[in-house]
């Protein structure tokens, strides 16, 4: 069934898709957003780590393989708002050198833009959605406007951990977060009850349901939930997208024709759609003349160190984000293992789920686990790391042999950490143990093996059609009216959480699209 043709169809109702929809809607474009998941609302954000799993991926299964499989389901989202509905809201900026890793260090890839080109969009986003932080204390921060809100309050956990950092010779600062420390733009201040990962229904934490979804709706954007896009449709010549094919809630095949098609789905889904959109003209998949669709999947390497204190660390209050940060080790080649990383200091914790008390000591069971839970609920504290993994073309999304209910191959994600990543992890582990031992904790320990956070790359942008899938705006090199947004575009990922950068980059694309519409849609 064909629907009325629109100016632009956006695939994916997450942070990137809804931001773009809002801006293009405000620019007068007729916009349809197709979201695979259900149309959840703020009333569905139940304060429970058990119920929070409804916000994790529930769509077409994604197969994860390799020596270090990415945690796709944990990172991605399900329902209107996408992964940003359960984001922790740590929002540091990338640093200038993160944009030129290849040209400056001879490793990885370069972004097609510099920090200076993205800076105005960081500044605009932080003003539009609201960030809390301390730009003076954050001595490593690149040039940018001061945060519009003061930093979040620290609990005893953060104070005790920061003391260890100081003793170990590290500077600390409040983590910049997309959470209201004070009322902002009609949204209330955070009350520090730590349910961020289960979704924040009060509006204190930035999620698309309280930021760009209302703007998009007001601008007349049509949102169609329960709409699973399977392919991008293209013309006979193979140089223009004509729309998308999708299956609605009743499992009926539909077509949505549009002048412009934007893939704003999760980083594993966009390559799958492109690879499944192959035609006689593009037998290797759409927009894949470079052969790089699906390549360069990257994730942040994570590590945690724990301490048990005799005093109450108040660890049950706070946010899912960190209280503090340190980037004293951010310089990529200043330590064993190349890459940047950010220390995160303290976090609000719950008893259960992946990052709860119980998994701080995963080897404990039986009465020993009960005993630990009682002690952890009073005195546990945690520091963590987001470390840079360099892009590797062998880390990739490919099509699996197994197919979905409509006959399209599933995405299979292959990911392993290389020797450099392991060297970096081992350095971080030693440093983290030293920091934690410098605190007053009576017991300290750390995670033995690297974890992975976020899911980036797979449709990287670049300057050349030979070594990238899109240009700096996310416009595919092969089809002038087919664009991609989101973290899948990132050629390198720095040592910071990606959501702020994802917003800033999408805003840049939205501005450019609105200004250059004729050239894109014609």
């Amino acid at each position: 069934m064909a629907n009325e043709k629109v100016d632009v169809v956006i695939v994916g109702g997450g942070a990137s898709g809804l931001l773009l929809a809002a801006k293009l809607g405000q620019a007068g474009k007729k916009v349809v957003v197709l979201e695979m998941g259900p149309a959840i609302g703020l009333d569905d954000l139940v304060s429970s780590m058990i119920w929070s799993r409804r916000l994790k991926w529930g769509g077409t299964p994604v197969m994860s393989e390799g020596k270090n499989p990415v945690s796709h389901n944990f990172q991605s989202g399900w329902g209107l708002g996408g992964a940003a509905m359960h984001q922790f809201a740590n929002w540091p900026r990338l640093h200038p050198e993160d944009f030129s890793v290849k040209s400056k260090y001879g490793r990885g890839l370069d972004w097609p833009i510099s920090y200076d080109e993205l800076r105005p969009y960081y500044d605009r986003i932080q003003k539009e959605v609201g960030l809390s932080g301390d730009h003076v204390a954050e001595v490593w921060r690149p040039a940018g406007d001061p945060y519009p809100m003061p930093p979040m309050k620290w609990t005893r956990q953060a104070d005790l951990l920061a003391e260890g950092f100081k003793k170990a010779g590290f500077r600390t600062a409040p983590m910049p977060v997309a959470i209201n420390s004070v009322p902002y733009n009609g949204r209330p201040a955070c009350i520090y009850d730590g349910w961020c990962e289960a979704g924040c229904p009060t509006g204190a934490l930035v999620n698309p349901q309280v930021t760009y979804l209302p703007v998009a709706k007001k601008a007349g954007v049509e949102i169609r939930a329960d709409s699973a896009v399977t392919r991008v449709l293209s013309n006979a010549k193979g140089d223009r997208a004509t729309g998308v094919e999708y299956y609605d809630k009743a499992k009926q095949r539909q077509e949505q024709l549009a002048d412009v098609v934007v893939l704003a789905a999760f980083s594993a889904s966009n390559p799958r759609i492109l690879l499944n959109s192959k035609t006689d003209k593009q037998p290797e998949g759409l927009a894949n003349s470079s052969g790089l669709v699906g390549k360069y999947v990257t994730a942040h390497i994570t590590f945690s160190a724990f301490g048990l204190f005799e005093e109450d660390t108040e660890n049950h209050i706070g946010m899912s984000s960190a209280f503090g940060m340190s980037q004293d080790s951010y310089v990529k080649d200043s330590h064993p293992g190349f890459g940047s990383y950010t220390w995160t200091i303290g976090v609000g914790m719950k008893p259960n789920d992946v990052l709860g008390f119980a998994n701080a000591r995963p080897q404990l069971f039986g009465n020993a686990l009960h005993d630990f839970m009682k002690r952890a609920s009073k005195g546990l504290a945690r520091i963590g790391v987001q470390a840079e993994e360099l892009p590797d073309a062998d880390n990739r999304v490919v099509l699996a042999d197994r197919k979905d209910e409509h006959g399209f191959p599933l995405a299979r994600v292959v990911h392993s950490l290389d020797g450099n990543s392991m060297e970096l992890f081992n350095h971080i582990k030693a440093e983290g143990e030293r920091i934690m031992k410098a605190t007053r904790a009576k017991e300290t320990w750390s995670s033995p093996a690297p974890g992975l956070a976020h899911f980036l790359g797979g449709t990287v942008m670049g300057k050349s059609a030979k070594d990238s899938v899109t240009d700096s705006y996310g416009r595919t090199h092969d089809l002038g009216n087919l664009l991609i947004t989101g973290g899948g575009l990132f050629p390198t990922i720095g040592g910071v959480h990606p959501t702020f950068t994802l917003h800033a980059h999408t805003l840049r694309t939205a501005d450019w699209m609105a200004k250059n519409w004729r050239g894109i849609a014609a």
């Binding site: 998941g37 009333d43 569905d44 954000l45 139940v46 304060s47 429970s48 780590m49 058990i50 119920w51 799993r53 409804r54 994790k56 991926w57 529930g58 769509g59 299964p61 994604v62 197969m63 994860s64 499989p69 945690s71 796709h72 389901n73 944990f74 399900w78 009350i191 009850d193 730590g194 349910w195 924040c200 229904p201 009060t202 049950h316 209050i317 719950k350 008893p351 259960n352 789920d353 992946v354 709860g356 008390f357 119980a358 998994n359 995963p362 080897q363 069971f365 039986g366 009465n367 686990l369 009960h370 839970m373 009682k374 609920s377 009073k378």
Partner: protein, 186 residues
């Protein structure tokens, strides 16, 4: 949210209710209530239930009475994209029943081979010894998902039903502080 509203929500949060079928009617019960009332399971067989409850009580004593089997079984009976299980978050391929069936079969088969009896029939000391083994390395006779991963997911389920509820928070002496309590089915 006003403090009065918060208190009301907190009061309601004690249920942590899921939908169970009792006498042909859908009722909202906590897993602990469903266990206490002897609500029949929909998906797991009696052998699978016995293995899961024995494993749960070994991983976290009290998990059985907290309704571990009813929680898992109820979640296996709903579509995967409505499930609340840790299995979903950590990327187990749906249908999740296959994962539990294979893991519990592996547990019993390896128990039989290594210790001469199904897991539920082993004395507690042997169960502890066996868990200590298979959480680190796949034992002889095991089939299905890797035993360390099955340990991780099963242990998380036990922690969920025992500590992931308002009642569980109270056991630890920490306030639940919900915005929206887990009172009703989504």
């Amino acid at each position: 949210m006003t403090s009065t509203h918060r208190r009301l929500v907190l009061k309601g949060a004690a249920l942590g209710a899921l939908s169970f079928t009792v006498g042909g009617a859908e009722v909202l019960l906590s897993p602990r209530e469903a266990h206490a009332q002897g609500v029949p399971l929909k998906v797991l067989t009696p052998d699978e239930r016995a293995a899961l409850e024995a494993l749960g009580d070994t991983l976290l004593p009290g998990a059985k009475d907290a309704g571990l089997a009813h929680y898992v079984d109820q979640q296996l009976s709903v579509p995967p994209n409505e499930a609340l299980l840790m299995a979903r978050a950590v990327g187990v391929m749906p249908p999740y029943a296959n994962f539990y069936r294979a893991g519990l079969a592996g547990l019993d088969a390896a128990g039989q081979k290594v210790h001469g009896a199904k897991f539920a029939a082993l004395p507690l000391e042997k169960r502890n010894e066996f868990v200590e083994q298979f959480r680190q390395k796949i034992p002889d006779g095991w089939s299905g998902p890797p035993s360390p991963f099955f340990y991780f997911v099963s242990r998380a389920d036990a922690v969920d039903v025992f500590y992931g509820t308002v009642e569980g928070f109270e056991r630890l002496g920490i306030p639940y502080m919900p915005h929206i309590a887990p009172l009703k089915r989504w």
